[in-house]
């Protein structure tokens, strides 16, 4: 059965169906539509004003590759300039190959590239060292928590080095959906209260961050990379199989099979969560708190809820709510 005609230009044969709408499009029209949607996201959310110097977090993976490519296409229209910032976490056998892919991209697109390494920024702590330090009897890896926090810190540093005004990352809609599921399962009320919007304006002196691909589904990102013949690094991090996010990812896949709009529904839910206001900021930022714990030989220090041990005169640990209730009198009613 011959493929139908492209629904947009009506000349070429359709090469794909868009996952969300089922519309049949040829390759060129699909890529143009994808770029138009990212442009709309950026303009409608006023994410990148003209004259912005944008640091693109480039990992060599499909999302950041597509992001860099699309922004490069849109840069003249938006009036922004781009810098690639790659982070070397020091994961042997994985990050080196990914960085090679980023270098190739930078050369091909003629974009300036800066590489920042954990080892330099964080006093010799590479992710492999962190993984060794946090490996315990836990059933899943805690090092992924470290990697996420430290990577954002490293990205911030790299962005400042190149004099950027904004930081962009390639998170797509599926990532946002997984994050909200994961945060509920982990009970991370702080992150739930913060997340959901199109980006953060940059609190506490940090650079404003945004995610232009936030509304694009993962499938479309992959399709775009396919049609534009982009060269990216597609292997999984060696620590990923043990990360808790894997559970959220499996759940999301199943939900999508039961209801195709599940990803969009989750993003909608995430935007509208109403949580009690966060407690006031602590003395150290999360990255410094984690490093502090690592350096003191107590890696789990800042992962828990309380601030136990962070400052020695801190308040005593709160009693756990899940313990059986103490003998308080039952109020008369």
């Amino acid at each position: 059965m011959p493929a139908p005609q492209c629904a947009s230009c009506h000349t070429a044969r359709a090469a794909l169906r868009r996952p969300r709408s089922g519309q049949a499009l040829c390759g060129a029209c699909f890529c143009a539509a994808f770029e138009a949607e990212v442009l709309h996201t950026v303009l409608a959310g006023r994410l990148l004003p003209p004259g912005a110097v944008v640091a693109v977090g480039a990992s060599g993976g499909k999302d950041s590759t597509v992001l860099a490519h699309v922004l490069r296409e849109l840069a003249p229209r938006l009036g922004i300039s781009l810098h690639l910032v790659a982070v070397d976490e020091g994961i042997g056998g994985y990050r080196d190959a990914a960085l090679a892919a980023v270098r190739r991209q930078a050369a091909r697109w003629d974009l300036p590239l800066t590489v920042v390494a954990y080892a330099d920024l964080f006093g010799g702590w590479t992710m492999d060292a962190v993984a060794r330090s946090t490996a315990g009897s836990g059933r899943s890896r805690a090092c992924c928590t470290f990697c996420g926090v430290l990577r954002r810190r490293a990205l911030e540093e790299g962005a400042r080095l190149v004099g950027a005004t904004h930081v962009v990352t390639g998170h797509n809609a599926d990532d946002m959906a997984e994050t909200v599921l994961m945060n509920f399962l982990r009970g991370d009320a702080g992150r739930l209260a913060r997340g959901g919007g199109l980006g953060s304006p940059g609190e506490g002196g940090a650079l404003p961050r945004c995610r232009p691909l936030q509304l694009a589904s993962q499938k479309e990102v992959v399709l775009y990379a396919h049609f534009r013949r982009l060269d990216y690094f597609s292997e999984e991090c060696v620590y990923a199989p043990e990360a808790f996010r894997g559970h959220a990812r499996d759940l999301l896949k199943m939900l999508e099979a039961a209801r195709p709009s599940a990803v969009l529904d989750l993003v909608h839910s995430a935007e509208r969560l109403a949580l009690a206001p966060r407690r006031p900021a602590r003395a150290l930022c999360q990255a410094c708190a984690l490093l502090d714990g690592l350096n003191r030989g107590r890696p789990r220090l800042a992962i828990g809820k309380g601030r136990r041990g962070l400052d020695e005169e801190g308040p005593p640990r709160e009693p756990q709510p899940s313990r059986p209730p103490t003998s308080e009198p039952v109020p008369d009613f």
Partner: protein, 508 residues
């Protein structure tokens, strides 16, 4: 576990296997001399959570205390108030009814002071049960209801077809009692009790086994067939379950209103609520989580839904029911024997229970996070129109909604700025992706009109229903809800400009 609070696992010995759901009530074999962790004397019979073994009496005390504390802490149920207990026959609601029964008995310490009634909704039509099976179940149900001694009501789900449209009108919300109001109410009640004397108290607390409420008798075949047709026409199990829940809620509230009950108690346990929270999240109901899973749900205005069992895990409920012989009636439900991936509800249930086996604090973590949810409108929005089906303030707006955009782009022709959407594709497309403002549609399509008045989650569910629901009260709703809007809409198409207005009005 990669969890925010790492304190949980510190007490368990390293290398111990993850605790499985215990089905045996015998003491753990490792420690034959183990005593109850609470009273340190009795022989333990149950293990709740890892390593906490309780004897029979301490377990009962803990269970009852949780129930009472939940009610007492929230102080929503005033003395002498009429409360309707929604009983499904399942373990959690049976346990709740039993707790209320015991709490009201004369010899219990600090007895409960409200006036209960029990309602049972017969949902046999939705899962295609034969009339004989339904009659058999009803006989068992009646037996149990008679032993409770409370006034009871058995209603068939088919009665929802004959509900008047006033059901969907959200009544004015009664102001919640303040602390002092509550205390005053308790004091006056106590004074009344003293004044009546011992006899008065006897009379008041005597449970009267009233005749059942049956204005219409058993449902007619036509109604049952209509119900089966309705449920068969729904495309996905997810939408079926949501529809069933909506219909059941409206029916229970209607009965409550008719008989003067101001509160409804449902038996949702901690485990069920954790699953419900995650399911609601996946269904797009993130804005309403606090109402869906909190202790009190006052979105229906005059009747407040209360969930006193929300701290009891299913495991505790099961053990209690077994140890203290709580009667329950097992009936097939909509999702009985459905495969694991059949609906979002099923998926989430399997996922959470499986994760719970691996990380035993999953359910309590989700529960604790749900306690931090607040019932606040987003960014201080004024209370707007309410969803037709679920009665929550509509959470769909045009402005900066990511999903409004996402839904738009999936239905608009490409190569065009996806900004305007008035009068775009007709037919099936107009039912979906309605982030646009009201007034786009001229009122020709009743389905579109209904869609406009639904929240995001209900809209997604509606897509799986092939037609507007049968029954007069659904169709009459659009005209009832926003008569002013349609009149203004109609006028719009006649207005040409300021200069021509006067000419027009003088003519007509």
């Amino acid at each position: 576990m990669c969890e925010m609070s790492e304190e949980y696992r510190e007490s368990a010995p390293k290398g111990s296997p993850p605790p499985r759901v215990l089905v045996s009530l015998l003491p753990m074999p490792q420690n034959p001399g183990q005593k109850c962790v609470k009273c340190k004397e009795g022989l333990p019979v149950v293990v709740i959570r890892a390593g906490d073994a309780f004897c029979r009496d301490c377990f009962k005390a803990l269970y009852v205390h949780k129930f009472r504390a939940m009610l007492g802490k929230n102080r929503l149920i005033f003395p002498g108030e009429k409360v309707l207990l929604a009983w499904s026959g399942g373990p959690s609601s049976s346990s709740m009814v039993w707790q209320v029964l015991e709490g009201l008995s004369r010899d219990s310490a600090k007895r409960l002071r409200f006036v209960p009634g029990v309602i049972y909704v017969d949902e046999g039509a939705t899962c295609g049960q034969s009339p004989e099976d339904r009659a058999k179940t009803l006989a068992e149900v009646k037996l149990v209801l008679q032993t409770t001694g409370f006034p009871w009501h058995i209603v068939a789900l088919e009665e929802v077809f004959s509900l008047p449209p006033s059901v969907l009108r959200c009544s004015a919300q009664e102001p919640l009692g303040t602390e002092s109001a509550y205390k005053a109410a308790v004091d006056s009640f106590l004074q009344q009790q003293h004044a009546l004397g011992a006899d008065g108290v006897e009379r008041q607390s005597q449970h009267c086994a009233q005749d059942p409420h049956s204005p219409a008798g058993p449902p007619t075949t036509a109604q049952t067939q209509a119900m089966s047709r309705l449920f068969d026409s729904v495309k996905t199990l997810t939408a079926k379950e949501e529809l069933l829940q909506t219909l059941r809620t409206h029916l229970i509230l209607h009965v409550a209103r008719n008989h003067g009950y101001s509160k409804v108690m449902t038996g949702d346990s901690c485990t069920r609520l954790a699953i419900k929270l995650m399911t609601s999240l996946a269904l797009g109901r993130g804005a309403f989580l606090a109402w869906d899973t909190g202790f009190s749900d006052e979105r229906h205005g005059d009747v407040v839904v209360v969930r006193p069992m929300r701290e009891h895990t299913l495991k505790e409920v099961a053990f209690y029911n077994r140890l203290f012989a709580v009667p329950s009636v097992c009936t097939p439900a909509l999702d009985t024997k459905a495969p694991e991936k059949a609906s979002i509800h099923r998926l989430m249930e399997t996922f959470i229970l499986r994760l719970q086996a691996q990380f035993p604090s999953t359910v309590s973590t989700v529960y604790r996070t749900s306690e931090k949810l607040v019932k606040a409108p987003r960014d201080g929005c004024v209370a707007g129109p309410r969803c037709l089906l679920c009665m929550c303030t509509l959470d769909v707006d045009t402005a900066d909604s990511a999903t409004a955009f996402g839904a738009q782009t999936s239905h608009l022709p490409q190569m065009q700025p996806p900004v305007t959407q008035a009068g775009v594709a007709a037919g099936p497309c107009c039912c979906a992706g309605m982030g646009g403002g009201p007034g786009c549609y001229r009122g020709e399509d009743p389905r579109a009109q209904v869609m406009e008045q639904l929240c995001y989650g209900c809209r997604v569910n509606m897509k799986d229903l092939p037609e507007v629901l049968p029954g007069s009260f659904w169709v009459s709703v659009p005209t009832m809800r926003f008569p002013r809007a349609t009149a203004e809409q109609e006028v719009q198409e006649y207005l040409l400009g300021d200069s021509e207005d006067e000419a027009r009005t003088s003519e007509s």
